[in-house]
Structures are given as C-alpha cells and as structure tokens.
C-alpha cells in the first residue's frame, strides 16, 4: 500500500523545469531565512537566558541602519522572485503559433476533449511528445480548473468564456489530470489521464480512432440543422452578417465600436445575440442559449473559423482586416 510514493513531481513538459526553477530559488530563500531566524532565536534564548529573578535586558532602542538593511535586502530578493515568476507566467499563457489545438469542455464531473480530426475522448487526453498543444476550454456548468501536475499547467475553466492553456510534452507516459477548482459533489472524481505518445504512435492513434466528423464539419451540419443558414446567407440580400472571411477580423458594430471576431465574440453572438449588433443589421436573431451545448458551441465556432479562411463575396463585406499584432488567440 505504501509502495511508490514520490516526494517530487515528474517533469514532463518544457514548462515544468521553468516553474521548478523559480520554485527552487524561493525554496532556498525560505530555507535560509527560516533557519537563520530559528538559529538566532535558539542562540539568544540560551546565551541571554535569565540568570536571576530581577535581571533586566540591555537598553537598546533600535538602529536605523539595521532597519534599512532588513528592509532593502528582502525587497530586492522578492523583486527577483517577482520578475522571474512573472516571466514564467507570461510564457505559460502565450501559446506559440502553429500549436496543435484541442477543444476541452468541463462539466460536472468529467472532462471532454475533442480533437480537430474529430476524435473525442472523456477523462483521457492523448497528445504527441515534442509538439506544442493548445487547449481551448469552456465549461458546461460551474467553475472547473484543468490541471496536469507533471506539466505544471493549470487554468480555470469558466462558464460563459474560453480560457486557453498550452504545453509541450517532453516525455511519453501517463500523467494525472485533475480538476483543481471545487465543482460540487464528485469534484474528486473529475480526474483522468493524459497520455503522451511518441509522434508516430500518436499519428497511428489518430488514424485508428473511429471515423468521426471534425468539429468544423459537425458545426456545418449544426449550422444547417438549426437553420442558421436561412439568414446567414452568401448573398447581399441576406438578413444577417456574412460569415465568410469573418473570423479573426475586425467587425464594426452599431454605434461605431469595433470588435475582433474571436471565439468569445462568436460564442456571445450565438447565446446572447443582442449584446453586439453588427452595423447595418437589425437585432432580429433569437438566442440559442440552452439549445446548444458547450460542445456544439465549440463546433459552430470551429465552422465559423473554417469559413474565416475563405474570402467573402465582394458585395457583402462587413469585415475590415484586423490590424497585425499580438492579439489574443
């Protein structure tokens, strides 16, 4: 029962060593100051122990130099921790371009994953070693948090918005996947495994899965089934904005404001269409909240995204090109 208990977690992603680096530094500082204080307390307690009942201590009121010393030195040490920690964090939440994307939906009490090739998994996640993987995550119900200790990655999964996390696995193997944000009765059952595979094995796994629609293809089917197509047509007389060439571009709204058509915008436009009305269109779209699940929302977004790579017909072009820059993916 007590076999195989570790005292330090495995390092299985490129980020693990980064996080552990700051950790080791702060741990050294912690150990140094804790031992210093403890040693001084013990030393003073012994050396200056009361010798007779009426003895009093020396009269010392303070020292400005010492106060400065033990204000400035700790301040500089903490600033090293601050800068180093912020740098690691910055990298951890900036996915590189070209990362492999996977959609994750958290719900009480399971993790659902959907690969771009259409493979779906529950409480398992297969990823190849040596390649950056970006997860786009939404929640069906309450707060969750996606946590892989061996990768040192974590991000809260929040209903109504998408959070992104990314990692590059380095070592094939099976690693714990935990929900870290308390989410109700079976919170501790919302766990699974991340299986890191050699790239070749991963390709075989992708091919070996049962054939399923890619999220974009599933989204296209939904688009027809939910009769979105009636209004979001390809012609200039359409009652709703043109979706071709929309994704990733700037949209001009009623009243002159603009917004970048990213995942959050598309999602909002489906569940709360009245929130942002595209310039030149009437607020006639009904809400689809409660009619589509989080997974279906992700599929619809994947479809709209796939349309973004196509050029819109010249007659109906509500979108203007987005300015280049480090916009949020």
């Amino acid at each position: 029962m007590f076999t195989n208990f570790p005292f330090f977690p495995e390092q299985a992603s490129t980020q693990a060593a980064q996080v552990d680096g700051v950790f080791f530094f702060t741990m050294a500082v912690t150990a140094f100051f804790s031992l210093l204080i403890a040693a001084l307390l013990v030393l003073f307690a012994i050396k200056y122990r009361r010798q007779d009942e009426d003895e009093i201590g020396a009269e010392i009121h303070g020292s400005l130099a010492l106060e400065m010393l033990w204000t400035v030195i700790p301040f500089f040490i903490t600033m090293i921790m601050f800068v180093w920690g912020a740098k690691v964090f910055f990298d951890a939440y900036r996915p590189p371009r070209g990362a492999m994307e996977i959609y994750i939906v958290g719900k009480q009490w399971m993790w659902k994953a959907q690969h771009m090739g259409g493979q779906k998994e529950i409480n398992e996640l297969h990823v190849p070693a040596g390649r950056p993987v970006k997860l786009m995550m939404g929640s069906e119900d309450v707060l969750h948090s996606f946590y892989i200790p061996a990768f040192r990655v974590k991000a809260d999964v929040i209903p109504g918005r998408y959070n992104v996390v990314w990692f590059t696995p380095t070592k094939p193997g099976r690693y714990h996947l935990f929900c870290a944000e308390y989410c109700g009765t079976r919170h501790s059952g919302m766990i699974g495994w991340v299986e890191v595979m050699e790239p070749n094995d991963f390709q075989a796994w992708l091919g070996g899965g049962r054939p399923a629609d890619s999220p974009a293809a599933a989204g296209e089917k939904l688009f027809t089934d939910l009769v979105c197509i009636t209004c979001h047509r390809d012609d200039a007389q359409a009652r709703a904005p043109q979706l071709k060439g929309l994704f990733g571009h700037t949209v001009r709204l009623q009243g002159g404001a603009t917004v970048t058509a990213d995942e959050a915008y598309i999602r909002e436009s489906i569940v709360n269409p009245q929130a942002k009305i595209v310039d030149g269109f009437a607020p006639i779209m009904p809400t689809f909240q409660g009619m589509v699940t989080e997974e279906q929302l992700l599929q619809l977004i994947a479809y709209v995204r796939s349309l973004g790579e196509q050029t819109p017909p010249p007659s109906a072009a509500p979108a203007v090109p987005a300015p280049p820059g480090p916009g949020k993916d």
Binding site: M27, A38, A155, G184, S188
Partner: protein, 534 residues
C-alpha cells in the same frame, strides 16, 4: 475577605448577559469562540479521518464536502476573525489606554449579541443539512448548483460581519479619544497599534463581504443575474468582491497576533522592543497594502496578465512589513533577560511558523509557481501556517500571558509548557506534509485521492490527532486554575505596562485613579513610571 473585582461584582446569569463591562464581554466572547473552535475542530477531525485512506470510504462525497465547508466557515468567521480582538482586545485595550471602558459599552455588548445571532444562523444551516460550497462560496456553484442551506449560511456570515464592524469602530474611537493623560501615540503598547490597524480593515473591508454574500443569497433565492453566466452574470466578479475582503481578513487574523507577540517578546526578554516605530508603522502598512493584493487569488482564472503582474508585485511588497516585524522581534531578544515560560514558547512557535507561512506565501505570490500550486494542498498548508501556526499560536500565547490578569489565578506552568510543545509538534506534523503533497499536485477539497499521496496524508492525520490533544490540555488546566489555581499578584511576570499595575483580576472600573503616563511600555531600565496609581 475578597476584594471587589469585575468577576465577583454581580452574580447570576443576568449580570453577565446584560453587562456593559468590556472585561465581562471579553469573557462572553471567550466562551462563545471556544465553543465554535470545538465545533470547527470536530469538522476538521472528520476531514482528516476521511483522508486516512485514498478511497472516499468513511463519509459520502456530499458529507465530506459539507465537513470542509463548515470547518472553513466556522473557523474563519466565528473563531479566527473575532478571536484575539474580541477576547484579548476587548479586555485589554481600555486598560492599556488607561480608560474605564471602551468608548461605546452598549455597542460592545450589542456586537456580541450580533455575533451570537450570526452564529445561530450558521449552526442552523449546519444542523439542518449543511452547506457544500466551500467557505469561499464560489459562484455559479453556490448560486445555481450547491446542496444545502447556502442562504442561511450566507446570512450568518452577513450578520456576524456587523459584529466585526462595530468592534472595529469601538476600538478606533477608544484609541483616538480615551487615552490617559500623557499617553501619546508613540507610547501606546504595540498591541494597541496592531488592533488599530486591524480595526481599519474591519471597518473598510467587512461591508464588502457582507454585500457580496447578500448578492449570492439574492441570486440563489431570487434568480437575479449577478454572477451566474446563465443569467447574464459574471462568475469572476464574485471572486474579485470576495477576495477584496477575504484577503485583508487574513490580516484581521494575523495583525492582532503580531501585537500579542510584540508584547510577549518584550515581557519575557525584559527589554523594550527594537525599532518601536518600525513595528508600529508596519502594522498600518500591512493594513493598507493588504487591500491591494486580492488579485493574487485569481492568477489562473483568466485575469489579464498585466493585472496579475500588478497584484503579484504588491503581494511581494506587503511581505516586507511582516519581515520587518520578524527581524525586530529577533533583535529584541538579543541581550535581553530571556525567560522561556509558556507565553514565550508560544511566541517562539509563532515567529518560526509565521516565518515559514510568510515565505511560502512569497512562493504563491510568484505567478510562475502559483500556476502549479494554486488550489492544491500547498495553499492549504501555507494558510494554515499563517492562521493556525500564526494566529492561533498568538491567541494561545496571549491567553497564557494575560490569564493571571483575566482570572486572577495561575495555571500549571509544566502542563502549559508540555501542551505548547505538543501543539508545535502536532502542528508541523499535520501541515508540513501538505506542502509536499501540494507540490506533488494533490488538489484541495478532494474526497478521494490517488494512492501515491497516502503516506503524506497519514502523517497529516497523525499530526492532527496530536494537535487535538494539545488543544484540549489547556482547556483542562485553565478550567482547573479557576477553582484551584494559586492567586496571582498584580504583575506575575515582572512585565511593564498599565495592565500589570492594577489588581488581578481588575476592579470593574479598571483604575481607581486615572493614570498619568510619562513613558512607553516595557521600559525596564526605569522601573514603573506610570504615576498616579495607588
């Protein structure tokens, strides 16, 4: 014949329940927070027993979740927050400023009744089925999904908040307006400074948590869309509002304990504090900067990276005044006349454990480390080092130090030393393994867990058992001292301060002649110089 003091001046239940004497109200608090400590401790024992084995086999998941929720709610809102201010602060602040009572004695009694009313709401919630939201009441779980009596528990927290606000108000007015002649701000005991800073947080922070839990109740009961995205709300808004109070609330718990430690370190080194003004102002700095760090609880909730950096920076800055205090306490002991009686043992325990708790707090403030350890047992270990290793050690140290004054009796010193040692050992065995479990990745609030974490959890449960015994022993010898303890003289420790110049236990009006103060406390070179006392 016994002289008249606050304890024998009036008998019967009514003389206690309708008292306006700050010392008697302090004892009303002492009894009620001890009751809540026992209740909260009972919940903690069930949590620890469940975690002896990896499988969730002792309690059902729902019951387990209710246990850690009730443990947190009871310990935070009904024990830790009132503990030192409402008991020791209530008893000592009027005496330390040379006054007959607090500025508003009736309001002081009212705040105890409000506290009891809030406590009743929470106990009703616990007994009628419990709550399983976690003490943090995170939305939308608490408003849309949670089991149990969320509204009742939220109202309990809402109500008891007013008790905090009124106590803080009373302290601030008393410290401003009722200081004895000659008692300038820089002659005040550091205990009073720390309570002044605490009171500022109570007054400025508590209304925010009160409104926040009321909004939770409104969304759950009336379906107003505030936090639940399904109703058009924003769940992360709740986290901002909640931590805007609840992070400063940590300082409500630790600042008074720091004040206690400053007094004990001086008394048992027979030496005035090293760097008085630095220790005094560091309390205010903690209170002020502490209001600006709440965002470090939501680094991984999708908060802007730049906002995160500001919160991270300020979280490091708020650590500096705490470090200043630790260095000054240590320097105070240097060339003192050190006596390791039980209050000093607690003070040593506090300084060591608070140092570890504070430094591991720096790890959590470093955003890169927080990614990994956020919401794991590392956080649980860290805040227990602050709240149990810090606040409760300080509370117990203060209780031992001032017990002869409060009760007029001496407790058994050998037993006190023994239990202080047990608490120190039990505490470390309980919570140190949780740092390791947390860095390994064990998430908090897990009813069942993977088997590789079991060794650490068994150690933790063993430690908790030792800790529990360590907490029971003082209950016994304090109670025993009331009936059979040796009578205490005015100043049993040879300490300096207004409270040690009046009889033990003090008379109802504290001072028969209003004191005139000519210097600060703990000036051992000069003897007693507070003149005007009989």
């Amino acid at each position: 014949m016994e002289t008249v003091n606050y304890l024998n001046n009036g008998h019967g239940l009514k003389s206690w329940l309708l008292t306006k004497d700050h010392k008697r109200i302090a004892l009303l608090y002492l009894v009620s927070i001890t009751a809540f400590f026992v209740i909260g401790g009972f919940f903690a024992m069930l949590v620890r027993l469940e975690l002896l084995t990896p499988a969730g086999d002792l309690l059902s998941s729902e019951t387990y979740n209710k246990m850690f929720t009730m443990h947190g709610v009871v310990m935070v809102f009904f024990f830790l927050i009132p503990s030192i201010p409402a008991v020791l602060g209530n008893f000592l602040i009027p005496i330390m400023v040379g006054a007959k009572d607090l500025a508003f004695p009736r309001i002081n009694l009212l705040s105890w009744y409000i506290y009891v009313l809030g406590g009743i709401f929470t106990l009703v919630a616990a007994l009628s089925g419990g709550v399983d939201t976690g003490w943090t009441f995170y939305t939308p779980y608490s408003t849309a999904a949670a089991n149990g009596h969320v509204i009742t528990a939220a109202l309990g927290v809402f109500i008891t908040g007013f008790s905090s606000i009124l106590t803080g108000l009373n302290f601030i007015v008393t410290i401003h307006k009722m200081r004895a002649p000659g008692l300038t701000w820089f002659r005040l005991p550091l205990f009073v400074w720390s309570h002044y800073a605490t009171s500022l947080i109570m007054i400025l922070g508590t209304p925010v948590i009160a409104i926040t839990v009321l909004l939770v109740a409104a969304e759950r009961g009336l379906h107003l869309g505030i936090f639940d995205p399904a109703l058009g709300g924003d769940p992360v808004l709740f986290q901002h509002l909640f931590w805007f109070y609840s992070h400063p609330a940590v300082y409500i718990m630790i600042l008074p304990a720091m004040g206690v430690i400053s007094e004990i370190v001086q008394a048992f080194s027979r030496k005035n504090i090293f760097g008085y003004s630095f220790v005094a102002f560091s309390s205010l700095a903690i209170a002020i900067i502490g209001f600006l760090v709440w965002g470090h609880h939501i680094f991984v909730a999708g908060q802007s990276v730049y906002a995160g950096m500001v919160f991270s920076f300020l979280s490091f800055v708020v650590a500096i005044p705490s470090a200043i205090k630790v260095f000054n306490w240590t320097a105070t002991i240097y060339r003192g006349s050190v006596s390791l009686e039980s209050p000093m043992l607690y003070a040593f325990g506090f300084i060591g454990l608070f140092t570890i708790g504070g430094l591991t707090g720096l790890m959590l403030a470093a955003m890169g480390i927080d990614i990994h350890v956020h919401d794991t047992y590392f956080v649980v270990a860290h805040f227990h080092y602050i709240m149990v290793g810090g606040a409760i050690m300080g509370y117990l140290g203060g209780l031992h130090y001032w017990w002869p004054k409060i009760s007029g009796r001496r407790y058994s010193e050998p037993w006190a030393k023994f239990s202080a040692l047990m608490i120190f050992v039990g505490f470390n065995l309980t919570f140190f393994p949780q740092f390791i479990a947390g860095y390994l990745g064990m998430p908090r609030r897990y009813h069942a867990y993977p088997p590789e974490f079991q060794v650490l959890n068994v150690a933790s449960t063993l430690g908790a058992s030792i800790l529990a015994v360590g907490y029971v022993i003082p209950l016994v010898y304090f109670a025993y001292s009331l009936v059979a303890g040796e009578k205490s003289v005015n100043d049993p420790w040879g300490a300096r301060g207004l409270e040690w110049e009046i009889p033990s236990p003090p008379p109802t009006e504290n001072f028969t002649v209003s004191p005139i103060v000519t210097e600060g406390t703990h000036q051992y070179m000069h003897g007693n110089q507070e003149v005007g006392l009989a």
